[in-house]
């Protein structure tokens, strides 16, 4: 049983505050973390390994700058066996297609995986596209929005949580699964895991190793281009009420609900 987990290093936005003047994120001082949903994917892999035993091997892959090594070491501390860093200046500026291309080629090169796991989306890009794109490039089926995984020898049974209910699907290997936070509660790394992850070897692969045409790499290989970035103007005029003003505020609100919200 070979499992791959695709992870992404993202800015730690949990403690980030908004600038009251501009409404933009204050990024200074925020570190990087493993994308939270990817931790659920790692945990799912570790749980399967616990069930299957040592013949199960977990490889964690990430595309990013050289310091994404930190995220990989954390994944090793959490129980992954191998780590692969996909790093190259030519990868920079990749959109979801060009990112998926690098991951798909790396997955082909590193081994025949039965199961590929990833978070449903990353907290920075929020596209949720890379997982299904990788699956398509590898001609694999893909289950998204997965909230439970039951491992079997020849297949996995997953529950997908969708808008109006849940779907249970049985999927043959090989397949790719993107997971939700409801799947599990990620464990903390053990001290032993932390110690051994510091010394572990990390495989580094570049565009040359993956033999991808330059035309398909990074910004150049991205079908989409960001052509303009704007900061939205704050349009809301906040009415503040405290102390003795609160009742007056509620009455205003009730009037607005009556006249506009419930009328529409």
């Amino acid at each position: 049983m070979k499992i791959a987990v695709l992870i992404k290093q993202v800015p730690d936005t949990d403690d980030v505050k908004l600038d009251p003047e501009t409404g933009t994120m204050i990024r200074e001082g925020s570190g990087t973390i493993i994308n939270p949903l990817d931790l659920n994917a790692i945990e799912a892999a570790v749980q399967i390994k616990r069930q299957v035993g040592s013949i199960c091997e977990i490889t964690v892959l990430t595309m990013g700058p050289p310091n994404a090594e930190i995220a990989l070491r954390e994944a090793l501390a959490l129980g992954a066996d191998n780590a692969v860093l996909l790093t190259d200046r030519k990868f920079a500026g990749a959109d979801s297609w060009a990112t998926a291309k690098v991951l798909a080629e790396a997955l082909k090169k590193t081994g025949e995986f039965d199961l590929i796991l990833a978070g449903e989306k990353a907290t920075d890009g929020e596209t949720g596209q890379v997982g299904p794109e990788v699956a398509a490039m590898l001609f694999m089926p893909c289950a998204t929005y997965v909230s439970s995984i039951e491992y079997n020898k020849d297949n996995v049974v997953v529950t997908r949580t969708v808008e109006d209910g849940t779907e249970k699907q049985r999927i043959q290997y090989p397949c790719l699964i993107t997971v939700l936070s409801a799947l599990n509660n990620p464990s903390m790394p053990t001290l032993r895991g932390k110690m051994s992850s510091r010394r572990a070897d990390i495989t580094i692969l570049t565009s040359q190793d993956l033999q991808i045409e330059t035309e398909e790499l990074g910004l150049k290989g991205s079908p989409t281009r960001v052509v303009k970035v704007t900061t939205p103007q704050k349009t809301r005029k906040t009415k503040r009420f405290s102390g003795s003003q609160i009742e007056k505020g509620i009455l205003q609100l009730v009037e607005e609900i009556k006249s506009s919200v419930l009328k529409q």
Partner: protein, 342 residues
């Protein structure tokens, strides 16, 4: 004839989801600028609604593919069939709903046919000089808006969340319905759908609600949600929750609002005892009216609110309930009205 603008529609449990009409209307606007047709793709097994509805919202052609294999969502089959239809029709643009279906199938199609895809667009337009699709989406938790183009690959594809665009006025218009035959290769799948369970009554998808009352850690205890339910019931609204309350198991995951939960855009959103982490704000800030209650005068949530109530939520929310019941009698007294009739 110029290549068309295509819409991948959402048909759930035998009925056409309103987002399909919203996108058809937007596709019509774009097609008028490009002087081309609007082609709507419908994949289903059973259907209670009329396909002709799409003509009233601006479609020129409806591609119909009816088969048992579409009874349930199957990522492989839906991807195979949509990819085949795109190859046959050669549209210049494909719009799809940013639902769990669209957000699964469209990236797989993009990977299959090698083109670009922009997720969760809030604005779509045509660039005058080039005729290219301008796709605008919020980035970095909605703090910036990015405009994206797909210059060299076709089709240019975008997903759009429900309720981003309005359903257009109906028009008098006719069109053609074309049958798309699917073959055994397209139906081949290693996914077996075993079971589908709809949400229980009363736990409808909060994304479909016009009014949402959300609670955060400021409630201090799980039972705080009972108070929010009381408020939501008066307004026939749904219940939302911040991520920490989900992690504390005060509320179930389908209620989570935010980047790792659901992105909602109701007419009225209450954020009660929610400080306003970036990840939460990104999930609700496009709501029409935002009301927040928090005891911290510096809470981030106040910056995105129309009504900001600073104080103890256990004083303020009961007051809201009391005044709503008093001022909106027909909703809160509905049951008494019924008994009078008898």
């Amino acid at each position: 004839m110029n290549p068309s603008v295509m819409v991948y529609t959402e048909i759930r449990n035998g009925s056409i989801h309103p987002v399909s009409y919203e996108l058809t209307g937007k596709a019509r606007e774009l097609a008028n600028k490009l002087d081309c047709q609007v082609v709507v793709v419908t994949l289903y097994n059973s259907l209670g609604d009329k396909l002709e509805n799409f003509f009233s919202y601006g479609a020129d052609k409806v591609i119909q593919s009816q088969d048992e294999c579409f009874s349930f969502f199957n990522q492989q089959i839906h991807t195979n069939v949509l990819s085949a239809i795109i190859k046959q029709q050669q549209p210049q643009i494909v719009l799809a709903p940013a639902t769990t279906n669209g957000r699964t199938v469209l990236p797989a199609v993009a990977g299959t046919i090698h083109t670009g895809l922009t997720a969760d667009c809030t604005g779509l337009d045509i660039e005058n000089e080039t005729g290219l699709l301008l796709q605008t989406r919020p980035a970095i938790g909605g703090n910036i808006m990015a405009t994206i183009k797909t210059p060299h690959h076709r089709p240019q594809m975008a997903t759009v969340r429900p309720k981003t665009f309005k359903i257009p006025e109906k028009i008098e218009k006719s069109g053609i319905i074309e049958y798309f035959e699917i073959n055994q290769d397209m139906k081949h799948s290693t996914i077996e759908v075993m079971d589908y369970r709809p949400l229980e009554a009363g736990s409808e998808n909060i994304q479909d609600k016009d009014i949402i009352v959300s609670g955060g850690k400021g409630l201090k205890r799980k039972e705080g949600f009972d108070l929010l339910k009381e408020l939501a019931d008066i307004l026939q609204g749904g219940i939302g929750a911040s991520r920490p309350t989900i992690e504390a198991k005060w509320m179930e995951y389908p209620h989570q609002v935010g980047l790792s939960g659901k992105v909602v855009s109701p007419k009225l959103y209450f954020a009660i005892g929610i400080s306003g982490a970036v990840q939460h704000i990104a999930g609700m800030e496009t709501s029409e009216i935002i009301v927040s209650v928090n005891k911290d005068p510096d809470a981030s949530i106040f910056q995105v609110s129309d009504y900001a109530f600073c104080g103890d939520l256990y004083d303020i929310v009961p007051k809201m309930i009391e005044l709503l019941k008093e001022k909106i009698p027909n909703q809160s007294n509905g049951k008494e009205g019924e008994s009078n009739v008898q």
